[in-house]
């Protein structure tokens, strides 16, 4: 091969190489205010509690977690806030899904997991092997699920649990059905056909919604409870939250369930709880969590919650999704342990919960629960 051939051959390579060099030289992180704000305000007060006594700026390195996609936008806010306080730290969160997150956590592939469901017994055992100590579930993300509908002219729809279940069941097929009219004595209901919209992907949102239906309207909702929408029911399906909302927007007469934060300006239904109808709100969602008992038979620090879906407590909104952060109670690697303590501590702090509420629209956990989580985080053994 003579020289000119070699040169010709290398030319494109050189072009690509040059492009890559230029590319590598010109990128940077954006200027965000989050970090500065966090530093200047109440840094030491709340975020610092989560740390293990060291000053936070000592933290460096990277921390990887994986799990529920429901937590992704809240996680982005937590990561941004935490990285703002600790510029040398990089936290990554892969929204692979709850199942994948738990699996990776129990095999030791990631240091923490996000999951819409608590670890089951088998997973607890596997996690204990991977961690060398028990793993615990910490409820740090509470997301009300709103019932959004598209029915021009009807603004303040109220739906009792059985009516809601019958709508998604396909038993009630038009909006002027007597059952809906009974729940809404003052509304003028059109005879539009009802198109229920559900998630086409397996999701924690679906699982929590059908759990609610099964608990609050047990005689109507007899389908198996899982993250998959029961097969064979009529209606439309959409992928992920935007897919569902897009389908709700696309046609009149639709009704669907979605994370409240994403619902935005769409009209939503108030849900029948006991004798009253409750609109979703952060407080109403936190209320049902506080009113719910703990799951039994778990490790002492574990805070898995058995949601009281059929609660009749006034002002509680029962359709909520709880997403857990799963961590080990001891980390062999000191740096990872410190990072987890710092990061999860930040998540549980006032500031962290507020950041998630602002950015992702989640409901902050109550101060009691917050204190309880902080205590668990404190007790994580490092090194």
């Amino acid at each position: 091969m003579n020289l000119s051939i070699a040169r010709r051959r290398l030319a494109p390579v050189a072009v690509v190489g040059a492009a890559a060099l230029v590319l590598a030289a010109c990128g940077s992180d954006p200027d965000t205010d989050n970090g500065d704000d966090a530093d200047s305000t109440e840094t030491e007060g709340s975020g610092g509690d989560g740390g293990s006594g060291e000053t936070e700026s000592d933290l460096s390195g990277s921390l990887n977690g994986a799990g529920a996609s429901s937590q992704e936008s809240a996680m982005q806010a937590w990561i941004a806030g935490f990285q703002g306080e600790n510029p040398d730290v990089t936290v990554n969160y892969a929204p692979d899904g709850s199942g994948a997150g738990r699996e990776q956590f129990t095999s030791g592939a990631v240091a923490f997991a996000g999951s819409d469901a608590a670890l089951d017994e088998e997973e607890l055992a596997a996690a204990e092997t991977a961690c060398g100590a028990p793993a615990v579930d910490l409820p740090l993300f509470i997301d009300p699920i709103a019932i959004a509908y598209n029915l021009p002219g009807v603004d303040n729809l109220q739906l009792g649990p059985e009516t809601l279940a019958n709508i998604f069941n396909g038993t009630i097929t038009t909006w002027n059905d007597p059952a809906i009219a009974a729940d809404n004595p003052e509304a003028t209901l059109p005879d539009t056909a009802i198109t229920p919209v559900h998630r086409s992907d397996e999701s924690g949102t679906t699982e929590n919604f059908v759990e609610y239906l099964a608990a609050a309207a047990p005689s109507v909702w007899t389908h198996e409870i899982s993250g998959d929408w029961p097969a064979g029911l009529p209606g439309e399906a959409g992928a992920q939250t935007p897919g569902v909302l897009q389908a709700v927007d696309a046609a009149e007469g639709t009704i669907g369930y979605a994370s409240a934060a994403a619902v935005g300006d769409r009209t939503t239904a108030a849900i029948g709880v006991g004798e009253e109808f409750v609109e979703y709100s952060a407080e109403a969602a936190a209320a049902v969590v506080d009113a719910s008992p703990r799951a039994e038979g778990r490790a002492e620090n574990d805070i898995a919650i058995e949601l009281a879906r059929d609660t009749t407590e006034s002002g509680a909104y029962p359709i909520v999704l709880i997403s857990y952060t799963i961590v080990c109670t001891a980390y062999a690697d000191a740096n990872t342990g410190d990072l987890v303590k710092g990061f999860v501590g930040y998540m549980a702090s006032d500031e962290g919960q507020q950041a998630a509420a602002d950015a992702a629209g989640s409901a902050p956990i109550s101060p009691d629960l917050q204190a309880e989580v902080q205590a668990v985080v404190e007790s994580i053994e490092v090194g």
Binding site: R8, R9, A11, P12, V15, V16, A19, A20, L23, A24, C26, G27, S28, D29, P30, D31, T32, D33, N34, G35, S62, N64, S69, E72, S73, Q76, A77, I79, A80, G81, Q83, G84, T90, N92, Y93, A94, P95, D96, A100, Q104, S107, G108, A109, V110, A239, Q240, T241, P242, G243, S259, A260, A261, A262, V263, G264, A355, D358, A359, A360, G361
Partner: protein, 366 residues
């Protein structure tokens, strides 16, 4: 000759010929009639197009068939069909491209290309929409990741794929070649998520559980890319005429040099096109990359350690899980801008492929 199957004797060459202007005139008439008919039904572009095309095809073919005979009529009908196919295909293709460009330009720019998503939250988006702050957050980390991962995947796949196709076309005889052909076909059927899981499992075995980095992503993409490269290169090498090979052998050129200097350069334009297609095939893959390369909002320029973002994963997460649920528009804009970036990257790759093709291909009139 005893048999005469010709059409009745042709007395003039121009006999049975329609005037040149026939087709344009019919075209205009059909346009008008199509517009009229669709207006009668309440005007819609779809009906207009359907009426126009059907009318034109029928009338033009019939007129030609009556005057010029069946063969010319068939030819005209096919010409109409080819143009129609082309026009029809343009609709979605233009629409898709327009969606990407129109929506993508909203956020696309130097700032978008040179900043990462580190520390950007839904709050920033909400403030930006309320006009309280600048839009921030770009795709630099994902852009860099896509470049590195796809580049590595290409470096792995093209040599393997091209060499394999050369083996199949030039050397392969017997059972091994048949097995490779067969299994390359099998490989085209690997669902992308399976390729990702396989690569993740492979890296878990080789480098420990939970290993995710750009290189693992590149391996996953290679599994998807290799069969496309093999199949398209094989096709292009096969249509290189044997005469060329024989001419080279006759000059005493060894077989391998014949292949490298004669066969491959002859087919290089097609191969480059195939490689571009192969890259295009994998550059938009989301699922296999998340399970192998990870997911991050920070910059990482080392494909061999730590998690790395890619553009399709970026598009997917911004589009399907906006940073801020209540004001998703800034995230959607980012998703479109990243899609536009992806298309521009492939355009660049395509240009490079064409450059390579031009440098190596024999100069011909075609």
């Amino acid at each position: 000759m005893t048999v005469d199957t010709r059409i009745p004797a042709v007395s003039s060459l121009a006999q049975n010929q329609l005037p040149r202007a026939t087709t344009p005139v019919l075209l205009v008439l059909s346009l008008a009639a199509g517009a009229g008919l669709s207006a009668a039904l309440g005007f819609s572009w779809a009906w207009f197009a359907v009426f126009f095309i059907v009318l034109f095809a029928v009338v033009n073919t019939t007129v030609s068939g009556v005057v010029e005979g069946r063969r010319k009529a068939t030819d005209k009908l096919v010409t109409t069909l080819v143009y129609t196919a082309f026009g029809l295909a343009l609709i979605p293709l233009i629409s898709v491209s327009w969606s990407v460009v129109d929506n993508g330009l909203e956020r696309f720019g130097a700032d978008f290309l040179t900043t990462s998503m580190r520390n950007v939250t839904g709050l920033n988006d909400q403030q930006a929409v309320d006009g309280e702050a600048e839009f921030i957050g770009g795709a630099y980390h994902a852009l860099l990741g896509t470049f590195l991962i796809t580049g590595l995947a290409t470096l792995i796949s093209v040599p393997i794929g091209l060499l394999t196709s050369i083996y199949l076309v030039e050397y392969g005889r017997g059972r091994l070649a048949r097995a490779i052909t067969f299994f390359v076909d099998v490989m085209t059927g690997i669902p992308s998520i399976v390729a990702g899981l396989f690569a993740a499992a492979l890296f878990a075995v080789l480098f420990g559980v939970g290993t995710r980095n750009g290189f693992a992503g590149a391996v996953a993409l290679s599994v998807l890319m290799i069969p496309v490269v093999v199949r398209s290169s094989e096709e292009m090498l096969r249509i290189v005429p044997n005469e060329l090979r024989e001419a080279a052998y006759a000059l005493g050129v060894p077989k391998w040099r014949t292949i490298v200097r004669v066969v491959v350069p002859t087919a290089i334009s097609g191969i480059a096109s195939g490689v571009t297609l192969a890259i295009a095939r994998v550059v938009g893959e989301t699922a296999p990359l998340i399970v192998t390369a990870g997911f991050t909002s920070s910059i990482n320029s080392n494909p061999f350690s730590e998690w790395m973002m890619s553009l399709p994963a970026y598009v997917y997460s911004q589009a399907m899980r906006p940073l801020s649920g209540s004001v998703p528009e800034p995230s959607f804009d980012r998703a479109w801008a990243a899609a536009l970036t992806l298309v521009l990257i492939v355009m660049l790759l395509n240009l490079i492929a064409r450059l390579i093709a031009r440098l190596f291909s024999p100069k011909t009139g075609r």
